[in-house]
Each structure stands twice: as C-alpha cells, then as structure tokens.
C-alpha cells in the first residue's frame, strides 16, 4: 500500500498542473490538452451566452409595452433571430458536451486525453470560425431576420445576412460532429482496464448518446443549409416555390436535424444531473441501467419525431398522426429518469450545496418543461398552441431550465477540479435562487399568454397580454442577474478562492482521483478503477483533508467496509 509520501504526491496540491505547466498564449492556442480545450470552449460558450442573453434582455425590454417603439420592427425581428441563433448554435449545443464533456470525459475513463486531440482542437477552431460567421451576419450582413429556423421562402427572399449565418451554422455543425466523433471513439477504445460499459458514469452514457446524434444528424443540417445557400444564390428550385421547389421540404430537412439537436442539448444535461444527484446524496444511483438505456432510447426515438414541429404545416394527416404517437413514447424514458433521480434521493445523505440546488432546480424546471410537452404532443391541443408563447415557454423550460441549469450545476460541481479552488457556497446558493425565481417569473406567464392566443415572434401585440409581458420582462432581468452572479462567483473562485483538495465532495468517479487542478497528464499514477457510484470506496484522509480510494489508505487505518446492500 501506498506510503504517505506517495499519497501526498498523488492527491496533494501539485506545484505544476495543466494550467501552469506551460506559459504564453501559444501554449493555449496550440494546445492539444483536452482540459485546456475544454476551458477555452467554456470561455467561448460563456461569451456566446452573454451576447445572446443581452439580445434577450433587449427584446424583453421592447416587449414591456404592447406598442413599444423601443426597437423598429426590423430590429426586433433581428433581435429574436440572433438571440435564438446564437443561443442554439453557438451556446447550448456545444455547452455541456464541448466544455464540461471535454474536460471530464477522458478523466472519467482514466485516460490521458481524447482519442484524437488534434481533431479536438480543430473542433474548437471550427467553433470560433462558425461563431465568427454568425457575428459577421450582424456586422457585415445587416443582421439576420429569419428566425433561427431559416424557414424558406422567407430566408431566400430576405436581404439580411442569411448566407453568413447559414454558413456559420454549417461550420458549427462540423465542430459538433468532430466533438461527437471524438467522444464516440474515446469511449469505445480508451476505457480503463476493467471499466465495462456498465461501470461508466452515467454522464458518459448520455454523452455517448449525444455523440451518436451529433454524428448522424448534423450532416443533414449541413447539406440542408448548403442547399439553402445554393437556392439563394443560384435558384436551384428545391425550396423556392417560384422555381417549383417545396418550402415544406426545407422544414422536414431542418427538423430532421433540429429535433435530434434538442436532445443534443438536453441529454448531456440529464447526464450531469445523474452525477450530481448521486454524489450529493452519497448513494448509488437508483436504476443505473434504466437511466443508461433511457439515454440511448431518447437518442434513437429523437430521430423519429421531427414531424411534431410541423403539425400545422400541411403535411399529411396520417404522417401527423404517426409523429404524434412516437412523440408520446419519448415521454417515457424522460419520466423514467426523473423517477430514478427521486428514488436516488430516498434515504440518501443529501447535501444542499450549490450544485445540488441547481440539480434540484433542474428536476423542478425540467418537470414543467417535460410535462408541458404532453400538451404539445396531443394533436388537437397542439393545433391551438403551435407557434404561440406556450411553445416558447415550453422549450425555454427545457433548454434554459434544463440545460442551462445543469450546466451551472455541473460547473459548480467540477469547478474545484478544474481550477483547484473552492467557490463561496452561500453566494452560489443565492445565485441559484435568483436563477430559479427569475426563470419561473419569466416563463410561467408565457404559458398563460400562449394558451390565450398570443403568437410568437410578435413585435407588437394585443394590449390584454401586456401585463404578462411585463411580468416576464421583470423576470428576465432577475434571471440575467442570477446567471451573472453565478459566473461572478465562479470566476472569482477560479482566481481568488481558497485552495481545495482533490476530492472535496466524496465523489467516486475517476476524475476525482487526480489532484486539483489535475496534472497535465491527468493522473500521475494509475487510477484505481472503482464503481463510480460506490461511495464507500472513498475514505477520508485527515492529513490531506480529502477523500481517497481505499487502495491508497494505510491498511491499519482502513475502516471496515459497510455491508453492501443487495441489489
């Protein structure tokens, strides 16, 4: 067994780590280290989040009055389009997989890096290029006013920067494919010895399912957007009815990607929540295999429901019927996850710190987002609710209440690992409260508005809806403040926070067996392969003030292992 000296070397605070092992901008710009790429991705997507968040606050301010003259109609249309396009393509899709996933995935496998480090760096630069194209649409293309969905034939006719933006989304697609492909190969080939599929942390199952979607669905978006550019420049007559094209065909192609993309956004979030709930309950996750397979089921079913965005589009009623039926089946694996999380809490030892509060907020908000999906899956009800604020509220509950909350929870969970410093938990919890309250105040009134017939993408509206819009706008600012505060707490902690130990939360997955922050090579020892949800394998070490695997504890100090519960 390991001596105290070796233990200190492995789990103590290291002198060099991945952050300070090399210096200078080149050491970051040309790094092949998945951790640095993850951090750069994190900075990038956060910038995109704030940019798109500002767009959101501007358009919410505009909607404060029903006949507001704050923005011209054109500017309002550009504002909601850019908010959606930047949020979806530049923020949510890469957020958890590319930022958190990049950092955590190889370490959870006990690996030194991802399978293709150069491809990983390339993915980041493609993200930069794609996002720059999106921004070029604003700077040189005169904005973008098609809605993030680029529906034809409006996108063919408008004179705003559709070509810049679609080309940007095309490039971002490649960025997403590269990340997905990398993760697939990494999980398949680089698992630690003894780490079977059913000993993977559930976060990896969800990232794996996400990667399948990224690799299979994104090319369809790419080719669709190229065809849109060809249609716009050369009038090839695929989507433009003036040349014999079919605008509804574009919707099919678009949603064939963009519905699975919804699961690219939410599946990694569910994976994060599975980790957080289990670690902060200190209890084996309930129904591991059901959660794991529900991720795969969601990924596969997600390919078969794109038509539910098009119930009113004029597609055949029979097709509509089939899509409605399959849509309801997606509800089942989602519900299974929620039930399993609750069962994990049962009889746990629940620590209500910042990441756990975000995880609990996720269950609350995703619960509303998921259940309101049932209204939209039911055909006759959807006919009424389609393209109203009900839909806006529904997908924000899933995308923001789900993904963004999980991202923040995940950041608070892995932040000590990433930067070796602890955040102020009290302030973190306040930020969670602000996000939670602000979010609900923003989006709950939108359900009522939508059901009463307020259409989306309206720059002016009937005055009877004004009171709801006003509540919503106030909530949006609270939400913005909450997110700002969360990032403030994190960034302050990264630079000034107190040093923290290698495994402060008694997590059992392998990334916590490295020092905080990790060494450039991730592990300076061979990490021991444990069951990621067997928390009894981690023993408190007083000298280091951290939890270390049983294998490293002095045999004479080793406490008896509690009786394993039969399962």
């Amino acid at each position: 067994m390991a001596t105290a000296e070796i233990r200190n070397k492995i789990f103590g605070t290291p002198e060099t780590n991945y952050l300070n092992c090399t210096k200078g901008w080149k050491s970051w710009a040309f790094t092949l280290d998945h951790k640095r790429i993850g951090v750069m991705y994190l900075v990038g997507v956060t910038a995109a989040l704030f940019l798109a968040g500002i767009f959101a606050l501007v358009l919410r301010s505009h909607l404060f009055k029903f006949d507001s003259g704050m923005l011209s109609y054109d500017n309002y249309n550009k504002m909601f389009t850019l908010h959606g396009a930047v949020m979806v393509f530049a923020f949510i899709i890469p957020s958890i997989p590319a930022a958190l996933g990049n950092f955590v995935l190889p370490m959870m496998l006990g690996a030194k890096d991802v399978a293709f480090p150069r491809m990983n760096l390339c993915s980041f630069y493609l993200w930069i290029a794609g996002t720059s194209c999106l921004l070029a649409a604003i700077l040189f293309g005169g904005g973008l006013d098609t809605g993030w969905t680029f529906y034809t034939p409006y996108s063919i006719e408008t004179e705003t920067g559709v070509i810049y933006a679609t080309f940007g989304a095309f490039i971002l697609g490649f960025s997403s494919i590269f990340t997905g492909l990398n993760f697939l190969v990494t999980v398949n080939t680089m698992r630690a010895p003894g780490q079977t599929w059913f000993k993977l942390p559930l976060f990896l199952w969800s990232l794996y399912a996400t990667s399948i979607i990224q690799v299979l669905a994104t090319p369809v978006l790419g080719i669709t957007l190229l065809m849109l550019i060809a249609e716009k420049t050369m009038h090839i007559g695929i989507f433009d009815p003036r040349y014999g094209g079919d605008p509804v065909l574009f919707q099919h192609f678009f949603w064939f990607y963009s519905h699975p993309a919804v699961y690219i956004m939410i599946l990694p979030a569910m994976g994060v929540i599975s980790e957080l709930i289990s670690v902060y309950s200190q209890k084996r996750i309930f129904g591991y295999s059901f959660i794991a397979f529900s991720s795969v089921a969601i990924a596969l079913l997600g390919f078969l429901v794109w038509g539910h965005h098009m119930f009113t589009s004029g597609q055949s009623p029979i097709v509509t019927l089939i899509f409605s039926a399959i849509t309801f089946t997606v509800a089942i694996p989602s519900a299974v996850k929620v039930f399993n999380w609750l069962a994990t809490l049962f009889k746990g030892s629940i620590l209500l710190n910042t990441p756990m509060l975000y995880a609990l907020s996720f269950i609350f908000l995703f619960g509303i987002g998921g259940l309101t999906g049932l209204f939209l899956g039911a055909l006759s009800v959807d006919i009424h609710l389609h393209d109203t604020y009900f839909v806006v509220a529904h997908f924000h509950f899933v995308m923001v209440g789900g993904t963004l909350t999980a991202l923040l929870g995940g950041l608070f969970h892995w932040w000590p690992k990433m930067f070796g410093r602890m955040y102020n938990d009290a302030l973190g919890r306040i930020s969670c409260a602000l996000v939670f309250i602000g979010f609900n105040v923003t989006f709950f009134p939108q359900f009522v508005m939508g059901a009463r017939g307020m259409p989306r993408r309206y720059a002016s509206y009937d005055p009877e809806f004004q009171i709801f819009h006003q509540i919503s706008t106030i909530g949006a600012f609270v939400l913005g403040l909450g997110i700002l505060m969360a990032y403030g707490v994190l960034v302050y902690a990264a630079f000034k926070g107190p040093r923290c130990s290698s495994n402060p939360f008694r997590a059992a997955s392998m990334e916590w067996q490295s020092s905080s922050p990790p060494d450039f090579h991730n592990f300076i020892h061979q990490p021991t392969m444990n069951d990621p949800y067997d928390f009894d394998s981690q023993i408190y070490d007083e000298e280091l003030d951290t939890f270390i695997p049983r294998e490293f504890v002095d045999p004479d100090k080793l406490p008896a292992r509690p009786e394993p519960v039969p399962h």
Binding site: P153, R242, P247, F311, T312, V336, S349, S380, I383, P463
Partner: protein
Amino acid sequence: MNLHLLLQTSNEELIKRVEQSTLSGTKVPQSSIEHEGASSFMQFWDSSYWFPEQASTFASSVDYLYMWIFWVSTIFFIAIVFAMVYFCIKYRRKGNEIKPLPSSSHNTLIEIAWSVGPSVLLVYMFFSGASGYFDSKTPAVNAEEIQVTASRWNWVFTYPNGDSSSELHLVNGRPTKLIMQSTDVLHSMFIPAFRQKMDIVPGRYTYAYMVPTKTGQYRLSCTEYCGREHSKMRTLAEVHDTDQHRQENTQWIKEEYYPWKNGQRTYMINCSGCHKINGEAATGPALNLLYSMKERPLMDGQVAVNEDYVLESIWYPAKKIVQGYGPVSKMNSFKGKLTQEDVNEVIAYLKYLNNPADVAGGDIESGLRAEGSDSPKETTKQAKGEPTEEGEAVATEEAEEIDTEQEDAEEADEKETEDEA
C-alpha cells in the same frame, strides 16, 4: 403596476384606451374587450382561465383535453416536487457525517411499473388528441368555400360570389371551408377562439375547416413568421347570426363579375386553343368533364381532382400527364403568366362547366353581378330569417334576388343618409 390586473383575464381599462387610439395599427376585437374579467388567477382549474371563449364546434373538445392533461400533469408534478422536497428535508445531511441509510439501488418491478404505468395515460392523450384533430380536418359536406389569400402583410377573404373583404366574415352555425393560398412567403391562419390554425404555403393550397358556434368578433392572426410587419398581420374573424346581417355589416370589396365568368375569360385567352369544352379531345383533354371525376386517370396511376391538381397542371404541366396524352406533355407552363388567383377563377369556371349550379352566379348567363346593389343579398330565405340548409349554394338564389335587391339598395341609401344626419 396594478397587481389586480395580474389576477384578471383581461386588462380592460387599457384595452378601452387602445381601442380609441390607432397606435397599434390593427383592430382589437370587441370580444377581447368584452371578455369577462371574472375568472381570476385563483380559478386556473377552469378552462376559461387558460383559453379565449369557445366559438367553434371543436373548441370544447380541445379545452377538455387540455384541462385533462393539465390535471394529469399537475398531479404528477406535485407528486414529484413533494417527494423531492420531502426527501431533501428528511434526509438532509446533518453536520459532516455522511450516513446514507441502507436502501436498494435497483428494483426491476418498480421500474417497469413506473415506465409502463403512465403510458396508459399517454395512450389516452394520444387518441383523444388524434380524434379531435381528425374532427377538425374532416370537411363538412356543403361547406361554404372561402378563398383566403395571405400576402405580406394582408389578408383577403374572397367569398363564393366573388366579393372579398379584409376581415373574415362567417355565418353562425354554417360549416366553412377556407381554401388558403399565399402570394409570397409562409403564413399561418390562427383563430384562437376557434382553436384552429393552419399554415399557408406558397405554391399550393391548404385548407381549414370550421363551424362557428357563437356570434361575435374574434382575433385572427398570422402565426408563421413572415417578415417585418408579421405582428401587424392581424385582423378579425366576425361571426354573424344571419347571412343578411353579414351582407349588411361587412365592408365589401366588390367584384363586377362572378368568379366563373372571370375564369371563362382566362380560359378563352389562354386555354381554348388546345382544350375544348364540348367533351372532344383536342391537343389537350377536354375541360368540361374534369370536375365530374373524383379521380383522373394518368399515364401512370391516377390523381385526385382538386385545387392542387389544377394548379399544378397549369404551372407544371409536365408533372402529371392525362392518360392518352403522353408520353410527353405538349403544354407550356403558365407559371408567371397566371397567378394563383387567376387559377382560382379558372377552377370556378371548371366547376361551372360541370354543373352551373355548383358555383355562385352560375345561372346568370352574362356572369355580370347585379348592379346598383350595395350589399348583394344572397338568399331570400335567409333574408327573411327562415332556416335554410347549411352551406346551400348561395348563388342559386341570387337571380331571384335581383328584384328585391333594387329595394335593398334604396334602403341602404336611406340608411346612409340617416347615418350622415
């Protein structure tokens, strides 16, 4: 911010103020002004809190299903949140001692139960939603056919007699079929009070069916983003109790000829060289028989005879070739030459050729609309308030009307002078 406004369904004072101003640039329907402020937030269990009033036959089934799903969701949600909060309080970590209680981490029976159990509820939601959907998609026999033309950022509704209006005017209880087309980009026709919505796709026809059940004014909005003034693309759908009331209270955009007559002119200029109307085959098939068929035999297979088929045959003649006229179409495309509105009139003419009684004004040889009448009456029976068959071809009575219309015109003139006074 007045808090009581939050609790009410509508913001009445504000709306009254707006009604007088022209700032919003669109019309505010009376119904939203008259909407009772009775159901407060504390009555969210009632569908009237969530929905505008019910004014069509399938509104109540939509509301019922919505509230059903609402209760199922609410029960599940409360259960989830209750369990979550209860566990978090009961099992919260006290001090630094980590002591989870022993419990199972797996129970196949429970997991299968909570996977399969809720599915039963989902199956009900699916069937109920699907049946409501098919109800709203089933055309009523003898429905009044109104052509809807959406363009940025206007609505034009054209009635069987050729007149049109910028608001949708319906008659209470009469089945209506909207035949919708767009001249530019995607639009969507949404009438919240009817719970009906349908996209309008350029280059093809889409249809919406409805039977209004309550008189009044309702919102009609475009719900598919269509550019700068998308949010101004709002108008009214007004339901009148009788045909007469509709005729008298609508601002009509008048048309001199009946649609079939305009269609005939289009036919004479563009089509008559190749298509006969006496049943004889020429370069192309005769047109008088087209609308007597439900399905037309093609070189390969057959096609349902409807608006889309006619439009496609005129714009893209090579796509579907009638049996015996192949293998290659000899017809040139009329895309760019005939608009979708022209095609609508040709369709009216094709229907006229099959049976003049099928189209408005079909029994008037000249096709000329009666002159001097401000608001042409459609049926004497309805004018007298007697019940008629729903959706009866309004135009057949048009001729009987000519005499009385003269009087009506005088009446209308009198009314105008009164108004001026």
